[in-house]
Symmetry: C2
Subunit: 277 residues, 2 copies
Amino acid sequence: MTEATIGTSAFDRDTAVTAQGEGVYGADLSAQWTIGHAVNGGYLLALLGRALGDALPHPDPFTITAHYLTASRPGPATVRTTAVRAGRTLSTGAASLLQRDEDGREVERIRVLASYGDLAALPDDVRTSAKPPQIPPYESCLGARDGMDPSAVPPITHQIDLRLDPATVGWAVGAPSGRGEMRGWFGLADGRDHDPLSLLLAVDALPPTAFELGLSGWVPTVELTVHVRRRPAPGPVRVAVTTRNLAGGFLEEDADVWDSEDRLVAQSRQLARALPA
Amino acid sequence: MTEATIGTSAFDRDTAVTAQGEGVYGADLSAQWTIGHAVNGGYLLALLGRALGDALPHPDPFTITAHYLTASRPGPATVRTTAVRAGRTLSTGAASLLQRDEDGREVERIRVLASYGDLAALPDDVRTSAKPPQIPPYESCLGARDGMDPSAVPPITHQIDLRLDPATVGWAVGAPSGRGEMRGWFGLADGRDHDPLSLLLAVDALPPTAFELGLSGWVPTVELTVHVRRRPAPGPVRVAVTTRNLAGGFLEEDADVWDSEDRLVAQSRQLARALPA
């Protein structure tokens, strides 16, 4: 595997957007980031985040929220951005991901609201009381394709380098832990280092915590909010996802993302539905 | 103090919106919900949440995100709502809070994106692993006005019934704990019970956790997301707020809200700036 860099990797190519003037961008949703019929929500958020980073005067998503409205499909799409406010430290914008249905009508897939800033301009103070997750070394963790029938492997698993903590993969052998926890190492398969945009992918790339709670149905995201707190150091990140409140058919998933310098580089929370199997 | 009910309390009066046709509402931001020059962000979110609940086909905010753009002032305001999508279980909408500046120009104060549903329609399953916070009994907690010079008491403290856990009020006597924690009982001063809208207030009504971390400057909210998970039972709620990552001049505040039946009725996270004192 050749080592890709930020700008040259499959992730950059597949999240590319083409300016079509006045805050509008063309995009092509890649079939390489799907699982089942679904295009991964973190991949889509990264694509929208790239468009907003181009449209707004600040480069980095400090806090970005997406509401997933209808199921995106691989193929052409349009991103429409709106500048809400441009300030000195932060600028705020909205974005919509749109596709055409079989009758040619425009359907909104995702609506985003975000505030952008410049991570490079932040002071160096760190007073983090959270601790990095206890995850076995990369080599001791389990690859996303390990033990799977190659013909059944979802396309996205070829794009990412996900190594799950063996303590959180009981669901795969019919023995879920009963705890709402999922942990692992996360990188891109072509060796590209992380940047703020790939952190938007990292928070939504692990299997649902609901699997370890013994549920096996689909867990579609209603809303996902990501705070990117620091530009990540090179190397894979550690992602720890927890669920504390599965009730009324909904659950939250909180993700912490730690870089190779033990810095908490992103925090996310999503509200998801727990659908029957 | 007379016992107010949902619909008759000061909170309901001060968050009222008047339909002006086509998703537009008039409002009057009350000076009774201020602290210093600032109108409380949770109060403003409740007002916006009320407008969206009227504009959308579903009644309750399941997940609502606000980006605070400019400082709201007591006085007239306009709420403009936009329906994004109406589904069977959830509907999604956006809203803007607008005021006129001294030159009569419209300025946007807050932008909101939210998905609404019907809490009464959710199934009864509960698998919450989170535990209610350990807070001393209401009678043993400290009122927000206790020991304050009456002439220095912010207006909002007369509207709410906030009783802080003595373990998290060290900051008030110059001895912050150093832990990013703030806990207390929270109700409305006129005895009104909670509903989903007052939970939007509850998550942003405690003093900043930054005070217990030894900071004394202003901590303005950049973005606040609230998940309302259940219609709260009667009586005051317990609110526990934690900060785990103060870095680069920003911090997150996570709030859990528990009702009198020990149910986790709301979860929130905000990104805030830690400004110099």
